[in-house]
Symmetry: none
Subunit: 207 residues, 4 copies
DNA sequence: CGCTAACCGAGACGGTACGTCCAGTCTTGCT
DNA sequence: AGCAAGACTGGACGTACCGTCTCGGTTAGCG
């Protein structure tokens, strides 16, 4: 965790940071994110809601996006365990399906706003990647590796690229919103992708 | 085109809209988008740059995002023709490759900001879809259809879903920015996808 | 009449000025003055109300104050005839009393706004003087002269000064609004003034 | 003092109001009033001149008129002491003469603009009355009372009315501007008024 | 126990952009 | 040529936030 309110204390002198304020701020942020997009939430409003001085927020976070990110990570970011059923195909399908459920909740909308924020703030984009996205991707790696080791998945495709292929369609629908992210769509995505990612026994493929 | 400055006039009464002002506004917007993200551009600045009254902008566009969209469509949106080489696989690879080049230009960054804007403004999301995204998707349809008719592509996958699969990885990399959108990546994406989307002659697939 | 819409026509060429528009504009102005002070009335509003182009107004009047003045003169400015009862004291009392009634109507409020306008627009102040105030003052002159000739009024006081003394208290109360301009007040003013302005024969008045 | 920036603070919490800003705002207002009528001064200009945020002005004053009033009261409103020579006639003449000098300065023009403002803003009219006019009038009361007690002035005329009569002509000339407010005019006014207001012993005056 | 450092709430501050409104000017086509 | 309609530049309006800055007051650990 890089750009959020964690390390600051040089030594134990002086009054320590108020955990109560910190919690109130994060909670107020989450509450407000229920009602409005991040953009329309002002730091003033968060401060008022949390009964906290504006300066206290600026002291610990560089901006509302970072604040929202920390709130998100602490309260909403726990999700999508990696299954291990013995079948990579089954694992992937289950994982993606669970992930899609995550994207369908309020958390999904917040996630989308983080991506949006990143488009005009490269520094935040980096933070989001470091604190959330890269962690997630690292987490699924073993699952894919198992598939490759068992010979279920092709070994000649870069893992990063595989993850992109698996995650991208969901994110794409989330951001564009042209069609619902329902079970049918997920099924379709994964089916096609597994077809392309899987190995074949005989493989007298295509004319 | 729905929410941008097009139809307004009931009849030919009154002073007609100044095409000169319109062009100056759109040009100023494009110029400014070279230097900063949409978020950081104020309508005041656009007006000043275009030597135009702020009210003139508000009269014809509901906000800077719509303004940017119109500028984008008029000056940057022409690209990525649909190839027809006789081979659907070849067509797709060429198309996606050309499209990735588009995303690598300044236009790509602007495109990303439109998606970002859509996360906090549903109305704009709709406009962006109507004026750009849906048009693009409609345009590739024939290409895919040809592939299906020629027996090159599976016919049991919904076309919308196919398009999602083709476009999503590029957009995903564009927004997250964790890795470059280079030719190697594109090759990887398309190769895997075509594997999954293609038909097979014998198809004694997999155990 | 100097700065209002009177002379403009060089010759009889072209379409003549529309009397209908002129009347509609003046009427709209009067109507609006019923509801709001001159300050809060915009030329746009007048034009809309009169179903007239804004340019038509600007063509014939230099500003809304002049427009209001012309409307005022034409529709409201007729009032306060000069009595001639044979007694100057009686004449004055009657005249001032009638005038105070004028100031109590909507016309009084409009009159006050003309004075107000004059405080920031010397040119308009001049117009108001020329078109209205000076005319009024000239009108009362004979009345005062009769009083002097008959020996009722002192001859050693400048007439302009007398008129100031007679009119000022009403205008003062009108503008400050600290007390009503009722009959009692008028009686008080005039009584004292006549005492000061009148001649005396022997006059062993009052203890 | 009612509607100006005085009391607002509930207690000593928060950063205290900046006296420096307050002074800079009032000074800038006075400076600008030297050059232009109140109407033509924008709050933006005041803020710029005082190097102050616009919001700071709006926080403490409801409009530029109130702001100008406070500046006026603080820097210009101190004047016209009430003389006490033993002769009410002498006192009055001196007082009015001094007052007329006040009206001849820049302060006079500002005073006129306050009256003007009051014609379209009743609330400000009230403020002006409360903060300035009524105070002034209360101040002269003792002078008049002395005159009555000494038998120099009539006791049967309402004091408010007397003050109106004394002050009105000056204000009238100030607002209409048809003739200068010189010593001759003042002499004339007061002479006539004292004639009307004074008591007489035997008084076989004037042929 | 008192000192001192760092925290905290409250809220005023200079500044910038917002979106609206109006002034005054201009360009149409109709009368 | 006058007119209605209405678009134009320009600029002030009053509001909302931003991020910074004082205040007075609180809460630790250290001396």
């Amino acid at each position: 965790m890089t750009r959020d309110g964690a390390e600051h204390r040089p030594c134990g002198r002086g009054r320590p940071r108020s955990e109560q304020s910190r919690d109130a701020i994060l909670q107020a942020t989450l509450d407000l994110l229920e009602e409005a997009p991040l953009r329309e939430i002002s730091i003033q409003t968060i401060a008022r809601r949390a009964k906290v001085g504006k300066a206290t927020i600026y002291k610990w976070w560089p901006g509302k996006a970072y604040l929202a990110l920390e709130a998100f990570l602490e309260n909403t970011g726990r999700h999508a365990p990696i299954p291990d059923t013995g079948s990579a195909r089954q694992d992937i399908m289950t994982h993606i399906s669970m992930l899609s459920n995550f994207y369908l909740t309020r958390a999904g909308r917040i996630f989308a706003q983080f991506l949006a924020e990143g488009q005009s703030d490269p520094e935040f984009r980096k933070s989001f990647w470091d604190c959330f996205l890269s962690v997630r991707r690292r987490t699924v790696l073993p699952m894919l590796r198992r598939g490759v080791e068992r010979g279920e998945l092709r070994s000649d495709v870069d893992t990063d690229l595989v993850i992109d292929l698996l995650y991208a369609p969901m994110v794409y629908r989330l951001m564009i919103g042209h069609a619902p992210l329902d079970e049918r769509a997920i099924q379709g995505y994964v089916t096609v992708l597994l077809e392309g990612l899987g190995t074949r026994v005989v493989d007298s493929r295509r004319k």
